[in-house]
């Protein structure tokens, strides 16, 4: 499976935790250490085992468009047209 | 009844209910919404009519319908919603069906904001909508007055078969104060003889505002003007404070008038001979009392939460005898007592100078 990663704009995050429950790999957690300027504990990627697939589900459900998603570049398969 | 700590909006709603409100039609809008919400619960509990209309246009026309049936009916809204009711109000005035409307005014123009304002003064006192009439407009400055004026609104509406608007700024709607509610009145059983109820055993009744011929329409208008003259004679109400031994008078209504009260107290402490006139009816405006006072004093300062609307009525009442100053805040800003005090001082000092020079 392709490796992926995400970036969460913690200042924008409102801590709604929707990404958390949507992530199929369960690699997002609430960052209880950080309190952003809005007063929320933001979400953070916690992916020690590199399980994130870059599926972007988290980004798709995030109401505050906080999440950018990246994935390992794969050589494109040659397709006969 | 004992005093309770009541929010203005809730107090108005409960007072209306206790005054025998039989039907309410309204549409949510801040800062009026608690009024509608309170009635959404209480009216249903009491098996009376509560309906959230699809819009203020619909609400005022539902009110028009229920009022045509001769029941105690009311709507409530805030400035943009009241703008949408103008046509309906004009029809109601033209049909002479008793109607009560509460306007909890907010900052404008346009969508503006939800803060307290007195920017609807012209919209409610100069005739709502087209044509020649003026609604009776009651302006409470406390939760207790909000209660008392609401009850009075129904009585006046029925006495004159006219529109009565309770016009309070958002602050009156939102604040809590101890106040006493009236006892619960039952919904009246009988309907007035002009009411639409189905013409059982009598000739049909008709409620309309059309008079195709100019002469007939004029005759009807003269009848309204007659009624308005009677109201002008009988119904002006105001509150005054420190109006003996006066150099200068402050005039303000609702929240502005209430805050001016504090400023006048402060001014008296500082030795200025200042008093307060707080109109409780915006229409009929207490012009007679004001013009009496104007004979005794050197100057008037008008305080409003708008760009100077009641100012015109004050100027009309004092008729150019004495200078009329103005201090206003707009767009939802509520003046503080110290600002008004400063305006009083400024005005008072100029006044003294002027008086000395003469």
């Amino acid at each position: 499976m392709a490796k992926g990663t995400i970036y969460i704009d913690q200042e924008r995050c409102k801590g709604c935790s929707l990404c958390l429950s949507a992530c199929p790999q369960n690699v997002i957690v609430m960052d209880n250490e950080v309190l952003n300027a809005k007063g929320y504990h933001p979400a953070v990627l916690s992916d020690a085992d590199d399980k994130c697939t870059g599926c972007a589900i988290c980004a798709v459900v995030c109401p505050d468009a906080c999440i950018s998603v990246y994935r390992q570049v794969r050589a494109k398969a040659n397709v006969v047209s | 009844m004992a005093k309770e700590m009541l929010k203005g909006n809730v107090a108005i709603a409960e007072a209306a209910l206790r005054a025998g409100l039989e039907a309410y039609f309204g549409y949510p809008i801040t800062p009026q919404t608690e009024l509608l919400e309170h009635l959404s619960k209480r009216m249903i509990e009491l098996d009376r009519v509560f309906l959230q209309a699809e819009s203020e246009v619909a609400a005022v026309n539902m009110v028009y319908g229920a009022a045509s049936a001769g029941v105690r009916v009311m709507s409530s809204s805030s400035s943009p919603g009241v703008s949408l009711m103008q046509e309906g109000l004009s029809y109601i005035a033209g049909s002479e069906v008793p109607t009560v409307l509460v306007d909890i005014m907010r900052g404008g123009p346009g969508l503006g904001n939800i803060l307290p304002s007195q920017g609807d003064y012209f919209q409610v006192t100069r005739s709502a909508g087209h044509g020649d009439y003026r609604p009776i407009v009651l302006a409470p400055a406390s939760v207790q007055e909000a209660i008392d004026f609401t009850v009075m609104a129904f009585d006046l509406a029925e006495k004159y078969r006219h529109i009565v608007i309770v016009a309070a700024d958002g602050q009156i709607g939102q604040m809590m104060e101890p106040a006493e509610l009236p006892p619960m009145r039952e919904v009246r059983k009988e309907r007035p003889d002009w009411a639409l109820t189905g013409a059982e055993g009598r000739d049909p009744n008709v409620i309309t505002s059309i008079y195709l011929k100019g002469e007939e329409m004029e005759a009807f208008n003269l009848k309204i003007q007659e009624k308005l003259s009677e109201i002008r004679r009988s119904e002006p109400r105001w509150y005054e404070f420190q109006t003996e031994d006066l150099d200068m008078l402050v005039v303000g209504f609702g929240t502005a008038g209430r805050i001016a009260y504090t400023a006048v107290e402060m001014a008296r402490e500082r030795g200025m001979k200042v008093g307060l006139l707080r109109p409780q009816t915006l229409w009929p405006f207490p012009e007679e009392r004001l013009s009496q006072l104007a004979d005794e004093i050197e100057s008037v300062l008008v305080v409003e939460m708008n760009a100077g609307q009641m100012l015109e009525d004050v100027r009309l009442a004092v008729g150019g005898q004495i200078p009329v100053g103005f201090y206003g805040r707009m767009g939802g800003v509520v003046p503080m007592p110290d600002e008004i005090l400063e305006a009083i001082e400024g005005h008072y000092n100029r006044l003294t100078v002027r008086t000395v020079r003469t």
């Binding site: 007063g39 | 700590m5 604040m175 809590m176 104060e177 101890p178 209430r258 503080m336 007592p337």
Partner: protein, 183 residues
């Protein structure tokens, strides 16, 4: 006698309720009183504040530019309102969330670790009552008994079970400043 108090904090910190509680108590004691709220644009989050004016004469303005007493439950409120308190007045603040010594020396500064104390009682939401207990001990606008009665009379029926805890919170707030005052 006229007391003017400003309560300010985040929505959800019980700012409005504690102001109302004080207002109820004042009414029950036969005073004139006004309570008036002010909200920000947000539905959740954001800040909110309310004014309470208590007097033995009819109250003119329910809002005051320079209240004699301010109670700040969070940092932004402290920063916004410290400067507004009338000379010789006081500001009480939730020291659990606000780290400050205060700028102004011409007013009393009362630091109350309200959230921590509430935490000790097992309910963070009680920070507001803790604050009130502390405040009234330092500045006896009304007696604590008046508040106790008001709590008893006006607590919503579905929260009645929390009454003892609320009374405890009040005492806890009173105690912490009493200690300090004693020092």
């Amino acid at each position: 006698m006229q007391e003017e108090l400003l309560f300010a904090g985040f929505g959800g910190q019980g700012v409005m309720f504690v102001g109302q509680l004080l207002a109820y108590a004042a009414m029950d004691q036969g005073y004139e009183v006004t309570w008036i709220p002010s909200y920000g644009p947000e539905m959740r989050g954001g800040t909110a504040h309310c004014y309470v004016v208590i007097s033995d004469k009819p109250i003119g303005s329910p809002v005051v530019r320079n209240p004699k007493v301010a109670i700040a439950f969070n940092k932004p409120s402290y920063e916004k309102y410290e400067g507004l308190v009338a000379e010789g007045g006081l500001i009480a603040y939730n020291a659990s969330l606000i780290e400050t010594q205060g700028e102004r020396k011409d007013i009393d500064q009362i630091a109350v670790p309200a959230t921590s104390l509430a935490d000790e009682l097992g309910n963070l939401k009680l920070a507001n009552i803790v604050m009130l207990g502390a405040l009234l001990t330092v500045r006896p606008v009304l007696t604590l008994d008046a508040i106790r009665e008001a709590l008893d009379a006006h607590i919503p029926s579905h929260r009645r079970n929390l009454l003892p805890l609320n009374l405890q919170a009040l005492d806890k707030g009173a105690a912490v400043v009493a200690d300090r005052l004693a020092t």
